[in-house]
Amino acid sequence: MLRFLVQRLATIPLVAIGVITILFVIFKSVPGDEATLAAGATSTQAEIEAMRVRLGLDRPLLIQYAGHIWGLLHLDLGYSSTFRGNPLPAILERIPATLLLMSSAIAVTVAIGIPAGLVAGANQNRWPDYAISGGVVALLAIPNFWLGMVLIAVLSVQMRWLPSFGAAGAASLVIPTIALSARLIALVARTTRGMVVEEMRKDYVRTARAKGLRWKAVLSRHVLRNVLIPIVTVIGLQAGYLLGGSVVVERLFAWPGLGDLMLTGVSVRDYTLIQGATLFFVVGFLVINLAVDILYRFINPRLRHG
């Protein structure tokens, strides 16, 4: 386990450097003058030139690249025009809010998706199955930001039950969580249903039934354990969706997270901030996938000694 952890953790910096390189290439090939962008639209020609020298933009690209990597090794993401310096503190400040949104979305997904899939699978081709499977199809087609807007219109504007934006207290977490987790709930429910349908035909289920165990107990004690593995896989595969979707959802609800900060960078063309935020999204993706791999070892004893 320790060796596995060390191996996996060691790849994170490697991937980070690769991603940084890709982003460097993308943003260096952008038309437009970086020094002008960094100095601001109202600055004089002399100020722009001073900024060019200060940021080293007058030097060859390879030197700039080396300087960029060197800076990152010293936790310096570069010059962000929004913060007039290293945007790292601002980025770190935003991470807890995004983390809160993501973890509540995953919690809701597990709490709703798994039971829904169990009910659908256990009632294959009867009305609960049709209702749940229909819901899955609908949820997979609805854009998360639209779902969020409809929920605002109904729950905040009409009913006045919940706040429509901001991050003040648990109530403000409800609508963003539903909007973000809807797609994931659908995917988890569909996977669970498929697995339950498959597992129900297996010998161990028949044995459990034959010895007199009730359906509920068979499902929760035997079937669920085998279903957990693909569910964790689905959540791991959708980590990218969760992180990307959080950007849109955060903007819609003015949620003070990393995605909202990234979009601030986009609106003022602060490329340093955009790259920094992207880098942290990648780190988040890697951490979620590492967590998934560790979870596998807990829920699948076959892997523990592998």
Binding site: G18, I26, G245
Partner: protein, 282 residues
């Protein structure tokens, strides 16, 4: 009796409901994309300040927006943006992804390691985050949007094609072609790729639905097609501030997006059932 025995026994295929529903819906959207602006009851850009934020009426079936433009006409005229961006980006992504994936899988070795390394790297950047970063770099235009969505889909297609090509490489007919001295490129083009097509078609159809979602999300964020163009995502973005006073502005564009995504998803599911019933459901 003899007649019955002599009659050729045709294997009946179960009618594929998914393919039928998805296909006809897609046909409807394509027709709208072509004819939308002509069929629309109003000019999608024409402002009627007496109808500002009017809820649905006999004159404006879906109501009117903040400056009195007819929402139904805007939805109809906007179909071509969403549909063409989705199709163009998925086609571009498929082209590049298939090239990368098949070369990596077919030639193996160093080429494979280089391509796979690059693709795996790109896969660590969340899809929408990559699209936002690229869209912010190339600028907000339909072309920029298409490039951003296409680039964010290339890695997943490349990976899928690579694994399918690796499977096919073990097949006898591929080995036979290699043994008789066919050039590797010819083997790839004549024997490997034709057998990978069904997987590619199914994947691209499902990704087209994703492209609609990503494209409208970028439009919503103001990174895609710019207002006043009647793109559905941009329409939703513009109605955000009016949500409190005119919630009907939000309904139509969202339903249009959902219906188009549903059409692509269903069509893709149908194709999968048709081509390969054993394929894993995603």
């Amino acid at each position: 009796m003899a007649d019955i025995a002599a009659a050729p026994r045709r294997r009946r295929r179960r009618p594929n409901l998914h393919l039928l529903v998805g296909g006809s819906l897609l046909g409807l959207f394509v027709a709208l994309a072509v004819l939308g602006p002509t069929l629309a009851p109003y000019d999608p850009m024409a402002q009627d300040l007496f109808a500002t934020m009017e809820p649905p009426t006999a004159a404006h079936w879906l109501g009117a927006d903040q400056v009195g433009r007819d929402i139904l006409s805007r939805i109809m005229a906007g179909t071509r943006y969403t549909l063409s961006i989705a199709l163009a980006s998925v086609a571009a992504a498929a082209l590049i992804g298939v090239a990368l994936g098949s070369i990596a899988g077919h030639f193996g070795g160093r080429v494979d390691r280089a391509v796979t390394g690059f693709v795996d790297l790109l896969l660590t950047i969340p899809n929408l985050v990559l699209a936002i970063a690229i869209a912010s770099a190339v600028g907000s235009s339909p072309t920029g949007l298409t490039v951003a969505i296409a680039a964010s889909f290339v890695p997943s297609i490349a990976r899928l094609v690579r694994s399918r090509v690796l499977e096919l490489r073990e097949e006898d007919f591929v080995n036979a072609a290699v043994t008789i001295g066919m050039s590797p490129w010819r083997v790839l083009a004549r024997h490997v790729l034709p057998n990978a097509i069904s997987v590619i078609v199914v994947e691209t159809s499902l990704l087209a639905g994703q492209a609609v979602l990503v494209g409208s999300a970028l439009g919503f964020l103001g990174l895609g097609v710019q207002p006043p163009a009647p793109e559905w995502g941009a329409m939703l973005g513009a109605s955000r501030e009016a949500l409190e006073i005119a919630p009907h502005l939000v309904m139509a564009p969202g339903l249009a997006i959902s219906l188009l995504v549903f059409a692509f998803n269903t069509f893709g599911d149908g194709l999968r059932d048709r081509f390969d019933p054993n394929m894993q459901q995603r």
